[in-house]
Each structure stands twice: as structure tokens, then as C-alpha cells.
């Protein structure tokens, strides 16, 4: 058992679960998607990214890339959310909500890839 490994896997897993939790629900219903959950997903995703920094292995590089993709998608989703509630006259519309959730779905894919890579890497370590 390695404390560093646990923390690492914890954050990668948490990024995925939070992301999934936000994604769950009708795509255009603002009530089904919590802004707090999106916030938590972004923070955890950022922390997961930083934890992957400085790893020079090939798997490490791919993990970092997937994490960056997830960050990008989630941050864009958050920006759209903020823009819709504060800048537009109409407030949040079902159309905007749908694009926010679909962006988070993209991030979800990236996070799934991360977890799969993590599992594959764990399996290849024999001991």
C-alpha cells in the first residue's frame, strides 16, 4: 500500500463520480443539475491535473492530457453558466442548460478514459 497512490486514485475517481453526478438528469432541466456539483467537479478535476504534473512516463503524459481535456470542458461549461445567469436577459434557458450538460458529458468521457488508464496501469504492475 502506498499513500501517494491512494490519494492519486482517489482524486481521479472522485473527478469521475462528481462529473457523472452532475451529468445525471434530463439534459435541458436546470433543476436536475446542481451548480455546486459542477463547482466541486471543477475543483477536483484541477487538483487531479496538478497531481499528474511532472510525471514523465507515457501513461502519465496521457493521463495529464485527459485531465486537461476534462478541465477545459468543465471550465467552459461553468463560463456558459455564469454568462447565461448574469449577462443574458433571458436567464438560464433549456438550450443553454443542454449545452452545459453536454460539455460535462464530454468531460465525463475524458474522466472515464483517465480511470481506465489508471486501472490498466495498475493491472500491469505485477506485484
Amino acid at each position: 500500500m502506498n499513500r501517494e497512490k491512494i490519494v492519486f486514485a482517489f482524486f481521479i475517481m472522485l473527478a469521475l463520480t462528481l462529473n457523472f453526478g452532475f451529468f445525471l438528469g434530463d439534459i435541458d432541466q436546470p433543476e436536475h443539475h446542481s451548480v455546486y456539483e459542477l463547482y466541486a467537479a471543477i475543483i477536483v478535476s484541477l487538483i487531479a491535473t496538478v497531481m499528474k504534473l511532472g510525471d514523465r512516463t507515457h501513461v502519465g503524459a496521457v493521463l495529464l492530457a485527459t485531465s486537461l481535456v476534462a478541465d477545459l470542458q468543465l471550465i467552459i461549461a461553468a463560463i456558459i453558466w455564469g454568462a447565461m445567469t448574469h449577462l443574458s436577459d433571458t436567464g438560464m434557458t433549456p438550450h443553454a442548460m443542454a449545452s452545459i450538460v453536454s460539455l460535462s458529458a464530454g468531460a465525463l468521457l475524458a474522466n472515464i478514459t483517465s480511470v481506465v488508464l489508471l486501472i490498466v496501469e495498475t493491472m500491469t504492475v505485477r506485484h
Binding site: Y36, Y39, I43, I47, V50, L53, G54, H86
Partner: protein
Amino acid sequence: MQHVFYLLLKRLRAPIITIISVYAISIVGFVLIPGQDDQGNVWRMDFFHAFYFVSFMGSTIGFGEVPYAFTTGQRMWATLSIYATVISWLYSMGTIFSLFQDQNYQRLSRRTRFINQVNRICEPYYLICGFGATGSRVAHLLDKHNIPSVIIESKLKVINELETTEIGQKLPSLCADASDPDALKIAGIDNDLCVGVLALTIDDQTNLAIAINSKLVKPDRLVISGTQSKATTGNLASFGTDTILDPFEIFADHLMLMLKEPYKHLIYDVFVNPHHNVWASPHQNTEGSWVICGYGRFGRALEKEFLKHDIPHTFISTDPRGYKAPPGTVHGTGTEAPTLIEAGIESALGVIAGTDNDADNLSIIITARDLKPDLITVARQNVRTNKPVFKAANVNLIMEPGRIVANEVYMRIRTPLLTECFSLIRKRDEASTRALLHRIANAMGEQELDAWTLNIDEQKSPAITEAIAEGRKVGLNALEMDPRNRDRALPAVALMLKRGHDSLLVPPPETGLQKGDQILYCGQDQAEQHMGWIMRDHNTLRYIQTGQVGPDGLLWHWLKTRRDQARGTK
């Protein structure tokens, strides 16, 4: 070895995560804590406003409470957040600054800078291993003629000093053991632009490792190595090291030349020492016996030459038996009068202070001169910085191992033909050498003497190859006229003409040039530029050959032909 950027990222993981966490908690706090708007209604900050507030609070503090004045609960949270964010920023900055001071980090960043500098070089360069007395002199000589070099030196102190000098700003330098293949690799030992490897460290094993490495990677590339022992010399030669330089043998050889054939030595001397010290004027008596202090590597090299030329000599050694000195060797250092007298200083022609201690050598010279003022004095100078002291002691000839090797290395790099030229000169008689020396002295005047090689080929001298192809004869003298005024001669002397495998020493001026010729010239460096002009520009060549400044361009050419025809019909 890892890249410096990754080291930075790895070290910054913890601080960055801290900042993200502190920000995340602060933002959530502001979102959750209820506030009041200007009408007194309950108002909660949303994520956007919370992020905005925390962002400027963390870095600047003092933008005021936005968008509405805070409630007490919000103020409490803001107070906590201020301390938390400031501390996390201080922690991150502290980590970054301590990383910049870290020895490992500095080594890595220097290494990265070195790699970048080497990669930026886009012309042929030389790799100098060892920046001691020899290496630094070679680097300076090469730099003077704009030939780039890359330096590897094992002593950090030397590298630090180098970086503060002008030359150190220009040349990439790396602090590493030069026998380490990795260091050689990043210095570009397998790079095509690295045209020569100079193994000039003080350690024979290192030199050996460098030479082997270079010969394995690129067998054809020039490798020049310094050496301290016979065994290494043999080993270096066994795998094709191009030039092996033993300063003691070179010096012993030159000393003999100076005694026996002073003019030949003078020719050599004017090339390697622009401001040479000529004690060996030919009027001086050079018959007599010598006292040599110190019997080590230097002593043995001298002994070989003295025996070969049958010159009487006596050694003084601190441990004659231990060093297996020849019979008749006097025991002592030579710094005290009785030892010198015992060795026969009073009847000697000269004294050679050849120990590996500079203070001893100076003491020997001064003591010996007290005993016999008209002695020829030769001293070995081991430490470069002692030069002023040796100069002040007025020693006739200073033997500086680093300088000797450096001069040889430089000569072989800059003008490889010069070495061949010297060996030809040594086969000639003294009288013709004397005549040549006078010509060189006239040409150089008060200037520093320079030597260069001209190649007669399409690339370097298109005007001449064109003229030869047209069937016109171009003589060597065409190169020696001033392109601005052909009645004047350029300050240069043709030393040697190399055609195929034949080499002709001091070719006569009317010699016709052929394609593929190589000509070794010496003289003032401005003459080299003028020669380049003649070789490249066919108008200049025509002026040199005919004295006419002809029209250039098709139109003028056509007009001239017409005018000539018109004149012809009149």
C-alpha cells in the same frame, strides 16, 4: 537526467494543490454565507461573484466589498480567507524561490541552457574538453578567428569564473566530467557540426576516454589529445587519434632546433608567438654544456634530445635513484649554490630549471645567474598565473607546457598545412631559411603575423577557375598584387604550394595555378581579404592581370565591342 521543467512541476505540485484547495473552500464559503442587498433583502453570492471576490482578495486585498456591503458573517469568512490565501501564496512563492537556489536545480538549468546553446550553433565547431591552461588558450585563439567552440570542464570553480568573462558569455560551457559519455553526447559529439574533439584535460585516462568515444562515434573526425605519459601516447595512437601532443617532447625538440638551427626555430617562433622573445640570435655562442634541474618526464624528453645531438649535460635531481636518473646526476634541488657548482655551472653554457615547482625554478635561475651572469636560462613555468614573475626574472626562454600544446592545437586547426610546411623547412639549409625569414619579416612589418590557406576551386575562387577553364594562365603573382593598385604588392609571402600529393616550398611567383591547388600564405591578415577579392571577382582579376578596368554588364560589353570595331574600320 531529467528536464528542468519537470523538476519544477514536480516540486510545485503541493503548493499548487494548496492554492486550489484554499480558493475552493473560500469560494464555497462566500456562496453559502447569506448576505444582504442594498434593499435589505437576503442575497446569496453566486459562484461567479464569489470567484471574482476571492481572486482579487487573494492577491491584492482592498477592492472593497462587492457587489453589496458584507454582512458580519461574510466579513468573518473574508478575514479567514484573507489569511488562508495569503499564506498559501507565500508558501508557493517560497517553494519557487528555494527551488531556484537549489544546487540540483541550478545544475539542471545550466545543463538545459548548455544544450540549447549547443543546438543553436549552426557552423562547424570544436569541442574542447578541459579548460585549463591549454584549453583556455585554444578557446581564446579560436574565438579570435571566430571559430566557435564548446567547453566541458570538471571544476565548477573554473566554469563559474569562465561565465563571468567575455568569452564565457559567448561559448557554451558545461561543468561535467568529460569522460562521461552523457556529457560528451549533449556537447554534440555525435553532431555533424562538431568537426574536431580536443582532449586537453590534465588527466590521461579522461583524455583517453574522450578520444575513444569520439573515434567510436565518428572515426573520421579529427581528435587531438594532450598526453602526460608514454603509455597513454601508445594507447591513443593505437585507435587512430590524429594528433598526440606531449608538451615536453615538443619543447625539447624546439630547444635543440634553437641551439642547432636558430633560423628554422625563429620561423616557427614567429608563427606561434606573435610577440616572440628572440634570445637565439645567430651570433650567440651555442656550444657548451648544460645543467638541467629535475629529472622527470621533462628531464627524460630533454635527455633524449641532448644525447641525440651529443651535447654534454648534467642532471640535478632530488632523488636520482628513485627516478632512475643517468649516472653522474647530482643529488639536490639546484636551488642552492653548492649543488649547481657541483654540477659544473661555472663552465656551463646554460641552465634549464625544469622542476614541477615554479618557486624552485625561479630560485634555480636566480642562483645560477649569480654564479655565472652570462648563462642562457630556460625555465619551466607550471602555473599560468605566474607569468609576470617569470617575465620579471628575465628568463631567456620560458617553457610553458599549456601554451606549447595550445599553440600546436591551434596551428593544426587553423592552418593544417603549416605543420607540413615546418617539416619541409626543417629539411632545408639554414641559409635559405634565413632568406625566407627576411621576406616574412618584411611582409609582416610591425603587424601580427597570420597564416592562411587558399583553395583554388569553384567555390572559393570562381574567378580563377573560370580564367583557367578559358585557357588563360593565372600565376601565383596574380594573387600577390594589391587589387586597389596593382603596382603595389600585398604584404604576404607564399610559403607552400600543395598540388595533389606534392608540396613545393616557397613556390616562385610565376608558378601557374591549377584547379585543386592549395596555397599556404603568411603575412598581414588584411592581405587575406584582398586575395579573397581577387579570387572571387573576375573584374578584379582582369585588372590585376591586364591593368585595365573593363566595362561590366552585357550592354557596356556590347558597346565596347562596337566601339573597338568602329576604331578598327577607321
